[in-house]
Structures are given as structure tokens and as C-alpha cells.
Symmetry: D2
């Protein structure tokens, strides 16, 4: 188990994971939570420092609005990381009550499109190449709006954004089964997202958030299908039992995460050349946030490591010969292998801690943050 | 279609439906939203004024905390309504991050129990007889806590509350499939709620919230089963497509609401003597709140009216003879009947508007509220 | 309520609905069940005779194999109906244990492709223009086969079938969430079906079976999306609470059926020019089969009639103005309207029975069938 | 890792797993499949021979009806196993079309009760102590029958069976979410099963089939709750992605199986004294049956072995201190441990093959069975 294939693999972490988050019922605050984008980047850098796996941090606009994005990017570089995807926000403006890019009112749509122009500027200032759009638009009641008109308006708005992009910028379009609307989402599934991407052009690709599917959906099938269409742009990793639970990736169904990684490995999409961006999109409502992120990136790496262990020649032979149990058994052999030791060895060889969670705890960073980040307003989903 | 059976039927409305609500992503504010419990009661009274169906309003403590509950009750009476169930809150105190009545720390549990003593006092002051407990406790990660220890602690806490109750007070215990925790809820299903009620005693009964079940759950079966055990204390009505969507009751699946009402009618539980409390528990995130409530109580009445139309003698005969299509057809005949006209006639006979939504719109109440409720802080789930 | 728009609307019935069906646990036989395709067609003709709504009957090959298809078509014409879509069977040959069009073995795929050439010949002999393919292929265990290779093989097989088609023949490709395989289906969702259709050409279109979706899926959204892509070829109507339950359409969620029909009507797809084929695909495991089919086609007509009642001008105005409750209320007004009387009037005007179920019962057809269809082997899913 | 706690642990295998099974679409036959109960017992004995884990085989009446049950029991003993639970069949008699123990017709109920008297006699003849009842009763259409009357009739029928039991016999009552009926099952959930058991008496206990729940149900919570009530009588193990998929246990979600076993171990219920009967209830539709069973019992043992590795002292301490990530991490540490080697060592020490699947393949048993079991009728769900 040498895992050379892991050398170039990275996971992108979201700035908002370091701020407070919660449910509609309550957001619990925690000591030491960042109060601005700089502090979020500093926290994110801790994850990379202890794991060597997370060299990029996604920003969310307007939550991470700063006066000088170049300065923020420079600060990130100092901290050992760089700015990743830029996420737009289409759900927190009062004008977006009934939608944004799909809103019936052209003025609201124009505002939402303009917001993406701002995001493209942030990308230019920070060196980011990925514009990630999660469209929260939808309706709560049958009849509330025309499902079809909303698609047409959405297509038009997306076209305007796509047109404003530079040739080296990508549009990553996410889908979600439900929430924040409960009758119909305007991009509820991968099929809808893909159709919009196909209409836009090659630089539009689909984002697969592992928490955004109907119960029972076979996610690795979708991964395969999007890869087969050359349209899998990125993952938003997290765990789900019921809804968009946003728990730590790999904590609810580690076997599913492994199966997803098996599909990834089968076409070499874990390598940077694939341009698949492996991102986290999670909440840490009740657990510590930086350790939660450390555990998350380690879980992704662990699943990938196991996927790399699959004996693909034997598996293909078993599959071709119709040996159902044999083929399944070969997959399970990889999954059952304990890779924690070899991965710790690998870290050690690279000057990283064998146990990143313990190393972070020992670093005293959390205590310092709690002691020094006093006053101001803790960051959350609203900022 | 005379519907005499509807005469005594009432629906209880929740004070929090008139405040702002939303999702974890955004709470959209609206003009004229109440700023205190008095204004909420005034809004609730509008629903009764125009429908004659909603003479009680549930309170939520601490959201509806006032200095003088007797004064609030008197105000309600002036407005033509009275105080219904008192709802406790176990999810918004920082101490409740890892649970309340089931928390590992006895001090937190004691605090949560004490909060219910306060609620019992509010009941004494307002004349309310129903203490409604929704336990939001749960865990987000496997291993986070002992599922069994949590049950034992919960049983102990509930016993302390039950002991503190007066002989004419009821404890109504709600269950919920998921949210705000995502790995395990401590009262996830009717079975768990019922077991706790059985352990407590006769004055403990189950609350069935129509939005709190797994996908595909046959809710009318649970209604039947709880009625068969004499333990159906109350409904929290709302509509659900996916999760605890809290949409207007009857808006997502009117046939399901009808089927529930058929079970109710089959044992006469729509009559006050059954002591089943038919309550709403909804959000009006994007639609107007008072009209949303009016539509909701009308939807419940409409479903009940249709249930009363079932030809029970013919139905029983068809059922006994194994006439599958005949029996089903008799049920559908009741459902397909348009009862809007007869119900409007009924209202007119009673001096109520034929179209309560239109009557409210014509009343100018909303405009007055928007104009006069200026300044202060709009009520929401946090207050 | 004149409902002229209903004049040209028809529903296609499946030959297999008149045979025995059941679950994996038991197929209950019934007296009078057809023993060959001629008797199935005769039964199907009863549905049309009493409703005027069902002038076509789908065949399933090999279940409906006869020596002389032209003779069968002529017999149908005598009975007042004609042959509709031809359904292939990819699940009942021993060779198909691990798949058919997606099987790893080219010989099995060739056999499955050849079967469709037979079906195309049946179409030429019967005048049918629709080849309907439901691909039951899938896998039961992770690792059992390569999900991607299966897509590639499937695409190749479909291409061979498409190439063999005449210019006036359509390929209708169905998707299904799960069953008869339980880990991954090879066409699990509308997105996969559509991608294959897009790759094939304009005469390949998607079949939407209302029972083939994940829990909570918004089906009318998919209807809208497929219509927007001009790729909705046909419905397989039935009802579902949990899985592919195959209950009578409209019996589980009549409001959903109405919402589907609203999307259909919104673009005029209920008219024959749309070429959307409205078919039933149901089982009648415990209820009488012909009355079950009669009820089904009436349920579809009823939902369409209500959809035609929507005040579209008022609805559009309410939608454009953001009047959430108003727009929803307009939709509900149409749904709440009782159209049974006007539809009975319509039938009477056309010389059809007001109550088709009662008329069939009075006709004595069932008793005659039970008395005369003695000996032989009753038809079922196996023949 | 010594795993002494595994010494007494056993898994019971079902006779029907060795016969043919399938879906409603097709049952694929396989060479060498048993043709009678003796051959089934012989096959079951192979599982025990190679794993040492499966010393009991459940029978299903009438599928396993023989003239001389004592002779069958003696044959089992010769083969190194014994007869386990006796399963009744309430779904394959034509009289049971609309139900059995809950049927409207007292004559049908009496017949179903009488069938259980026969099963009790089989128990007396074979030494079995467990009567397992899965009630397939339910309805397909709303209104088809009275949900409540069915409960009352069921309670009466169960009482008659319970009364007929010997003092050392147990009644194990299973529940199921849906199938073979699709509107309402008469025992759809653990709550309903438990209520009936409580009404019957101490020797009535609940069977938890891991495939019989709504999507998203937390099964380990139910395990905990039933153990807490001292009413968990048995498991029916299998895997599920969507419905009652009946796949190999541990093949769909090995982490869930581990979590279930953690609850078991936490109260010592893996020890025989608990009287929890760990049974398989699976189909092997497309894979080899005996190897499928071997893999299954190994999967259960593996999950239990991992559960025994949990550092319970450290876990309790982390739980009590509110260390969410620490507690979760301790659980995951046990799950991530590769126990395949130590379990193979254990087998070797006991004179069992390190790799039971390979050992069975090498034994030539399958080839012999295929060669000698010629003629006759292969066993399936119908016999």
C-alpha cells in the first residue's frame, strides 16, 4: 500500500464551515469562531497544515466580502492555502423571496445576474477559476408559479452569466432535491442541471452535492453518468441520513463514499487533470469546527485510498464472467482493508502529523482563538 | 348536506404562525407582523372572526412570555378567543446544544424540567389544560451518546414533569422523525412517544404532527392505532412533501387529510368529548400569514365535511363482502364531492362571510397592521 | 363545463391488465380471466365500449404472441379497438439473469436486440407505431458489474434497435428507480433515459411511469421538463404509495394526477397532435380487472377535466404578481370542483352509460366470461 | 483481538434461502437447487460446516412440509445442525386474498389460526421453540376495509394462537412497512407489533427484519427500544436499498449492521441467554445460494466482532463529557479495524477453513448437487 496516486489529490474546504451554523431552530455559537474572512482563511489553513490535503478554501459572496480581494488572496498564500471556488448567494436578499434567477420579475433576475458579475470580479481578483451556483429557487405551493416559465427565465439568466465569464472560468451548477422550497425546486436533479449546462456550453458543469438527493438514490450511478458526459465539475461532500443534513462526509455511510470514489478512480478522475473539484460543503452545528473539517478531509482521503486498493484486473475478470459474489467480494475486500496505518505512515514521511486531529488539539490553536477572538460578531451563514 | 356534526368542531391556531418564520437559509420579514403576544392573539382572533372555526390560540413559552398571563388571557377573551395549549421550548437555550430532557448533565435536565413548571404555571394563569412537549433532543453522529441512556434520562425527566401537573392538566407528547438532529431523534416515532405516555399515566397522550414521519408512512393508520389505545391527544396539522415542511394543511395531499378525517369520524373523535385537540403547526414563510391560517382551518373543515359524507352503512357492507372496488369507490365518492358551496352556505347562516379569505382582505386589517405596527421587533421563532 | 377539449382525448390500456398478476408472494387467480391475446383484446374492448375513452390496447411480446398478428389486429377492429404500443420483454428469459441490452455477453445483447426486430415486425403487422422498451437491467450488488460499461453496451444495443426502425416508428424508452434489481438500475431516472434518447435521434422519446420514482419526487416537474425538451413520448399511469405499486391511477394521490394533467394542459399535450401516448400500466391483484380498468380511465379523464377548468388567465396574473395564496387557490378551485356529473352528462350525450362501472356490471359480461372461459391456462405476466 | 465473546454466537439460516427465489418479474432457476426439505437442510449444513456459525435452520410451513418431522429433525442432527424457528405462511392460500388473521370472514381467520396449530405441532416434533409469524395482511386501496376492525380481528386471532402454545414456546411477531399490500399493512411498524405482543403476554416478542422499514429509519434505535422493553425476540437479517430487497446482509450498508451490533453488544444481547435469535431472511436471486449464505453469516460475525472492539469505557467517558467528535471517532475506530485476519485465525484454531467461501468452492459440493439433483421439482417460495 504505497498510495502514490494520493500525492496530487486535494480537497477544497469552505470558508463557511468555520463560522457558526445550525438549523432553523437554533444556531449555537462557539468560542473562537472567526469574525471575518481573514480569520476563516486562517482556520482553513489549519486543516491543510495538519493534513496536507486541503490547500484551497472556497469563498461565499457576500459572506466573505472584503474591500481588497487581492489582499485576502495574498493572506491565504501566507497561510499556505489559496482561494478556491467562489460561491454566489441567491437566497438571502429580501428580493429573492419568490426566486432569483428564475423570478417572475425581470428586475430581480437582473439583480441576481449582476451579483454573479461581482463574483466573476472576485474570481479575477483572487485567481479563482470556478464560479459555483447553487440555485435555491423554487415554490412552496402547487400553482404558485409556472414551473415551465421558471425554467425559461432561469435559462436566460444563466446565459447572461455564462456570457460574462472569461474563457478560463467555469460555471459549476448545483442541483438540490428540496429546501429551501418544498413543493418544487427549479433545479431539483442532475438531469435538470445537466440540461442547463448543455445549453450553456462546455465550461458549464454539474456540481454533485452528496446530500441533495431523494431517499435511496444511487449517487455513484450519477457520478458515473456525469463523468460519462464529461460534465462532472465538482463535488460538495457531506453526509446525509434524511435531507440536506450537512454532516461530516463519511460519517453516515462510509461505504457509499467508498463506492463514489471507486467510480472516480475507475476513470482517473481523482487526478487534477480531470478538473473535478472535490469540495466539502458541511455544517458543524454541535461539534468543533476545525477538527470536524480535519476529520472530513481524512475521511475523503481514506475512501479514496480504499478505492485505489481495488484489484481492478480481478474485478473486471469476475464481472465479465458473471461471478456476482466474486466481483462483489473483491470490492468489499478493498473496503474492509484498514488503511489508517498506512495513511498515517504516509503523513509521517511527508512531515505531517500521524494523527492530525490530535496534533491540532495539541497545537493550542483553538484556545488561542477563543482567547483572542473577543468582541466583534462571529461569522455565520448570514456573514 | 347539512353538516350538523361540524357545529362543535374547532381548530386551534398557533401564536407563532403570525410571526416571521423561514428556513435555516433565510427568514423573510413581512409588513404588519406582530411584535408581541398581544398582537399575535389579535391576529389569531381574525381567523376565528372570519371562519368561526378557530376559538383557541396556542402559546409558546418563552416566545409568548408576558408579565401578566391573566391579562393576556383576558385580552384573548375580549378578542373572542381563548388560550389553548402551552408549548414548551427545549431547543433555543445554549445549554440545550446536546439535549434537554435527555441531556447527559443532570443540571441541564433539571433546568429543562423547571421550564415545564413555568409552563404549568402559565397554564394555571391562562386556563389552559394542555402542556405540549415537542422534544427536539437527538444526536448527529453515531456514537455521540448512548441511545439507551438518553431514553432512561428522558423517562425520568418526563416523570418529574408529570408529577408536577394538576389532575386536570394533560401532557401531550410529540414525536418527530428527524430535525433538528440528523442521526437519531430521542422520540422519533409514535411507538416511542406512546411508550413514554404509557409509563407516565392516563393524562399523557401522543401528539401526531402530520409532517413528522418517514416518507410513505400511512398516517391514518397511526391515527387509528392511537385512537384504539385511547392515546391520541392532539394533531399538529400541516403539509409535507419531503420533511417537516410546515406548509398549509391540505395543500400537498388533500386526499391524505381526508383519509385522516375518515378515521377520526369513524370513532366520533371530531367531537369535543374525544378531547382530541386539532391544532395547526405551520409556517407561512412566503405567503401572507393570516390568510394562510384562514385557508388552513377551512381546509381542515372541508376534509372533515367530506369525511362526514361517507355512506358508512354502504361502506361497511361493501367491506364485509370483500368488494374492493365498491368500498374504495364509496370513499372516493365522498372525497370527490364539492363541499365548498354548502360550507359557504353554512357560514352565511351563522353570520359569517361566505368567503373568509376575501372578507379578511376586504376588512383592511392587514393594511392597518402594516401601518400601525411600526418600530419594535417583529416576532419570530426566537421571540 | 362543456369539456370539448376532452373529445379527442384517449387512454391506451395494456393487454396484461386483464390477465392475472400479483406480487412475488402470490398471484391470485380469478374466474373468467383471458387465456389468450384474443380474449384480452375482447376484455379491453369492454373498457372502450362503456367509456368511449380507450380505443387502443397495448400488446406485450412474447405474452401476446400469436401466429397471425394481422388477424389479431382485425379482431381488435371488430371489437371496436385497435392495437397500440408494442412492449418488448427483457426480463423473462433465462439468459437475462444478469441483464439484456446491457449484458456483458455480446451474444445475450444480440438476442435482446433481435427480440426487438421481432417487435418491429409485430408493429408492421398490426399497424402499431410505438415500440416501448422498459429496460429491467441492473445489478444487485456493488461491484457486480461496471456501471459505466453497462451504459456503453446499452447505448450500442439501443442504436442497433433504432437503426432497424422504420421512419414512422417511435422508440419509447422507460426508466425505473428500482426493481427487479436493487443496487443499481441501468436506466434509473429520466435523465438517463433522456440522454439515451438524445443520442439516438428524434424518434426516441421518454416514457414516464408514474410509479417509477424515488419517494417525494415531483413528477409534474419531470413532465414539464420532458415536454420542454419535446421528448415526452408516453405515460405509464398507475398509483404508487411506496414502490412500483401498480395500483389504479388516481387512487393513491388524485391531487398529484391533477397536477400532472395541469402541466399537460398548459402546453396542449392532451391533444393527439402532441403524440403523447397516455397509457395505463397497472396490476389488478385483488380487485376485478375490467372494472378496475374502467375506473382507471375515468380517473384519468376526471383529472384532465379538472385541469381544463383552471382559470389560466387569472392564474397567470396571480403568478406574475407574486400572489402565492391566490395562485394556489385558483389551482385548488379547479381541483375541488366536482366534475362527475358533467362527465356523466357528456357520456350520456354520446350514447355512453352515465355510470360505466355499473353498466359493465349490468352487462353480464363477467359472468359469461367466467362461465365460458373454462379450461386452458389463464394469462398472466408469464403469458 | 481474541474475540472470546464470539464463541457462543450463532446465526440461524432459513431453509428457503437454498431454494429458488426472485421477483414478481422472474424467478431464475439454478442447477443443483434442493427439491425437498431434506436437501435444503443438507445445503444449510454446508454453511455451518465451513463457518461453525450456523447450527440452526428455520423451516417454513407448508414449504417444508414432510410426513415425519422427527425424521427431518434427526436428519438435521446427522448433518450437524438442528431445526430452528418454524415460520407460518399466511400469503399463499387462495382464501388469503384479502387477508388471513385479520380477514373479515371468521372462517378464513379460523383457517389461519388452525394453520398455526399445525406449526406448533411441527415445533413439538422438531424441538423448535420459536413460532415466527409474519403477517402479510393489508389493503391496497383506501376504504377497502376498516383499518380498525382489522386490528381487532387480528388481536383476537393472535390470542387464539397464543393460547394454543406450550409454556416453553415463543411467538415471534414480525412487522413490515409494505408489500404484499400497498395501501396499509396491518402490522406496518414495530409499535404495532409491540402493542400486540404486550396484549398477548411475555412469550410474545417482536421480530425486526432489517428490510422492513421506511426510508431513513434508524434501525439501531428500534433495536435499543425493543431491548429496553425486553421484547426483541429475533432478527431477520438482510440488506435493503429501497424496499424489502432481501439482499445479503451487510452488502448494502455495513456501517448500519455494525451500529445494530453495537446496540446488541451494549446490553450483552449477543449472548444466548438474551434469547435474541439472529436469523437470516434473504433471497439469492442471481448469486449462488450456499456461498451467498456463507458470506452472510460471515458478514454478521464480522459486524459483531467490530462491535466488540469498541472501547466502551473511553466511549462512555467521551459521551458523558459531550465530546461529540471524540465519541464518534471511538466508534469509527472499531468499525475501521480490519477483523478479517483475526477471524480467519479463529476459524483455523477451531479446525475451520480460513476462507469458508473458498473451502466450499473447493469441496465440490455444488458440482455434486448439480449432477445428482436431477429430475423432480426445484424448491422455491411455493414449495
Amino acid at each position: 500500500m504505497t498510495f502514490d496516486e494520493l500525492d496530487e489529490f486535494t480537497v477544497e474546504v469552505p470558508s463557511w464551515a468555520y463560522g457558526n451554523s445550525g438549523t432553523r431552530f437554533k444556531v449555537f455559537a462557539a468560542p473562537g469562531v472567526p469574525r471575518d474572512p481573514y480569520e476563516k482563511v486562517a482556520d482553513a489553513a489549519q486543516v491543510h497544515r495538519h493534513t496536507g490535503l486541503a490547500p484551497r478554501v472556497s469563498l461565499h459572496i457576500p459572506w466573505d466580502r472584503v474591500d481588497d480581494y487581492a489582499a485576502l488572496a495574498a493572506y491565504a498564500k501566507e497561510q499556505g492555502v489559496r482561494i478556491g471556488a467562489i460561491n454566489s448567494n441567491l437566497f438571502q436578499d429580501d428580493d429573492y423571496k419568490l426566486g432569483s434567477l428564475a423570478h417572475a420579475d425581470p428586475a430581480v433576475r437582473a439583480k441576481a445576474v449582476a451579483h454573479h458579475r461581482e463574483c466573476l470580479d472576485v474570481m479575477r481578483a483572487t485567481g479563482s477559476k470556478d464560479l459555483k451556483i447553487w440555485l435555491p429557487d423554487g415554490t412552496n405551493y402547487a400553482g404558485q408559479d409556472s414551473l415551465r416559465d421558471r425554467q425559461d427565465r432561469l435559462a436566460d439568466s444563466l446565459q447572461r452569466i455564462y456570457t460574462a465569464m472569461d474563457p478560463d472560468q467555469r460555471l459549476l451548477l448545483e442541483y438540490k432535491f428540496f429546501e429551501p422550497y418544498f413543493y418544487a425546486m427549479d433545479i431539483p436533479d442532475w438531469g435538470t442541471s445537466l440540461l442547463h449546462c448543455l445549453a450553456l456550453g462546455e465550461r458549464a458543469q454539474v456540481v454533485l452535492d452528496t446530500g441533495h438527493h431523494a431517499p435511496g438514490t444511487n449517487i455513484e450511478f450519477i457520478v458515473m453518468q456525469l463523468l460519462r458526459q464529461d460534465r462532472l465539475g465538482a463535488f460538495d461532500f457531506n453526509s446525509r441520513f434524511y435531507a440536506d443534513d450537512d454532516l461530516i462526509v463519511g460519517s453516515a455511510d462510509p461505504f457509499q463514499l467508498f463506492r463514489i470514489m471507486v467510480e472516480i478512480v475507475s476513470v482517473g478522475a481523482h487526478r487534477p487533470a480531470s478538473r473535478v473539484n472535490f469540495m466539502l460543503d458541511q455544517c458543524h452545528n454541535i461539534e468543533e469546527k476545525i477538527p470536524g473539517q480535519i476529520r472530513s478531509v481524512l475521511n475523503v482521503e481514506q475512501a479514496l485510498a480504499k478505492a485505489l486498493l481495488v484489484d481492478t484486473a480481478a474485478l473486471s475478470a469476475a464481472q465479465r464472467s458473471g461471478d456476482v459474489l466474486g466481483a462483489h467480494g473483491l470490492l468489499m475486500d478493498a473496503f474492509e482493508t484498514d488503511v489508517r496505518g498506512p495513511l498515517a505512515d504516509r503523513r509521517e514521511e511527508r512531515g505531517l502529523p500521524r494523527d492530525p486531529v490530535a496534533a491540532f488539539a495539541a497545537s493550542g490553536y483553538a484556545a488561542t482563538a477563543a482567547a483572542t477572538r473577543v468582541g466583534g460578531r462571529q461569522a455565520g451563514w448570514g456573514a
